[in-house]
Amino acid sequence: MIGVLLADLIKLRGSLVLLVMAVPPVMMAVLGVLVIISGNGAGDWPRTTLSGTAIWAYFLLPMTATGLTALLAQLEHSTGVWSHILATGTPRWQIFLSKGLIAFGLMGATSLLVGVAIFTSGHVGGLVMPAEALEGVPPYGQVAYILMKMWVASLLVTAFQLAIALRFASFALPVSVGIGGTFVAVAATSSQWGLVFPWLMPVNVLASEPERGLLAMAIGGIGGLVALAAIIIWLSRRDWD
C-alpha cells in the first residue's frame, strides 16, 4: 500500500494538481491584503480571519475539491493508463484507496496553506498600510481548529467528486457537477436540505447552532469515509475496457 501511495505522489510532479493547490491560498492572501489596505475590512483579527474561512468554505473549498479530484483522475485517464496500472497485479482496492487518501491529503494540505495565507494577508496588510493594521491578537488556534473541522466536513464532497472524476474519463463532467453543486449550495444555505447537502457541509461548520456544526462534521466526515469505501468497492468490481 505504501508503494502505491508513493507511486501516486510521484505522479503529481510537474502536474497541474499542484498548481490548483496553490491557487486558493494565493487568492486568499491577495484578497485579504486588498481588503485591509482598502480600509473596508472588519478591522480586527477575529472577524477578518472568520471572513477568510467563510470565503474558503463557501466557494474556494468546493471548487478546489472539484479541480483537484478532476486533475488527479485525469492523470490516469490518458489512453491505456488504467489498463497499465490495473494489470500490474496491485490489488484494486489499494489503487483506489490510494487515490482517495491522496485527494483527502491534498485537501488537508490546501486547507493548511489557506490558513497560512489568511494570517499572512493580515500581517502584510498591516505592514503595507499601518493605519489599517488589524486590532487584537491573531487567533491562530481558533482558525486552525475551524479549518480542520471544515476539512473533515469536506470529505464527503471530495469523495463524491473523486468518484465522478475516476469513473468518467471526461474532464468536463466532474467540473460541471462541482460548479453546479457550489452554486446550488448558495441557494440551499437556508433551506432544510442545506443540512445534508454535501457542498454545504464545510459552511455548516460555521453555523451559530453547535448541533448544525456537529452534524456537518458527522455527515461530511463519516459520510466521506463511507463514500470512499463504496467508491473502492464500486470501481474495483467494474470492467476497465
Binding site: 510521484i10 490518458s78 491505456g80 497499465h84 494489470a87 500490474t88 496491485t90 470492467d239 476497465w240
Partner: protein, 302 residues
Amino acid sequence: MTDAIIETEHLSRHYGELNAVDDLSLRVECGQIFGFLGPNGAGKTTTIRMLLGLIRRDCGTIRIAGHDLASSRREALARVGSIVETPALYLNLTGRQNLAVTCHMRGVDKSEIDRVLDIVDLTKDANRKASEYSLGMRQRLGIARALLGQPELLVLDEPTNGLDPAGIREIRQLIADAPARFGTTILVSSHMLSEVEQMASHVGVMNQGRLLFQGTLTDLIRTAPHRLEIRIDNPSRARTALVKNWPNAEITGAGLVLPGVNEAEAAAINRQLVEAGFAVTGLAIKPPALEDIFLSLTGENK
C-alpha cells in the same frame, strides 16, 4: 511436455449478442514468442484484457504460470509485463520517473530502472519528460516498463502500431531477442501476418472470437493444402484429361496448377499424365503463401 505460461480453457466473453471471445482454449509454453493473429475485431484485445484481469470473463479459466487468475490474481499478474494498446505514460514525468512509478506499484527494486533503460537504449534520455519523446521512444519506454521485475511473460498488444519502419524494426528486434536475453515468454498480438512471421515461433489465429489454429508456423504451413505445379507439353489437353478428378486445375503459362494436392496424389497424377502420352517436364508441390493461409483461415479471401 513444456510448462505452459498461459493456459486458458473454454474462455468466453460476450457483449450482448456479440461473441467477442468464444470457447477459447489457448496454450502458450515457456520460451515461445507466440504471435496472436487475427483481423481487427477478431477478439485478440478482449482475450488479452481477460488475461490481464482487466475485464471479467463470462466462463472458462485462465492460468498464468500455473496460477489461477481468479483465485490468485496478484501472484499470476506479478509474473506479467504488458503493453495494452499504447504505452500509457505519464507525460508530466520523465522516463525515469515513469519507471519509478511502476517500481513502486509492483514492489520492484529501483536498481531495475537502469537495467531496463539500458536494454531499450534510453539511458541518455531517461531524465527527459516523456512528453518530449517520439512515438518510438515512448514504445521503447513502455517495453522497458513491462520488463521491470524480470517478468516471465510479456504481453504486447499491437506493439508496432503507429511506428515508422525504423521503429518497427527496432521493436521487432527487441521482441525477437527477448526470450534468449531475458528468458521471457512473449505473447504479441498483431493483425499483420508479415510482422508476426518475422518474430514468432508459434502462432494462434483468431477470427470472430474463435481460435482457428495454434501451433508452429511450420505446422500452419504443413496443414494448409499445397498446390501442384506441372510443366507439361500440352496444358490445355492435359487439363481436359484431369478434369474428372481435378476440376479445379488451372492453366498457367506452360503448365497446370492443381490446388490441394498431397504427395501421394501428385504421384498418381504424374502417372496418369505419362500413361496418357503427355511429356511431363516438371512437377513440384509448393506450399501456399503464409498470407493466403491466413486469409483462407479468417475467411478474408472470399
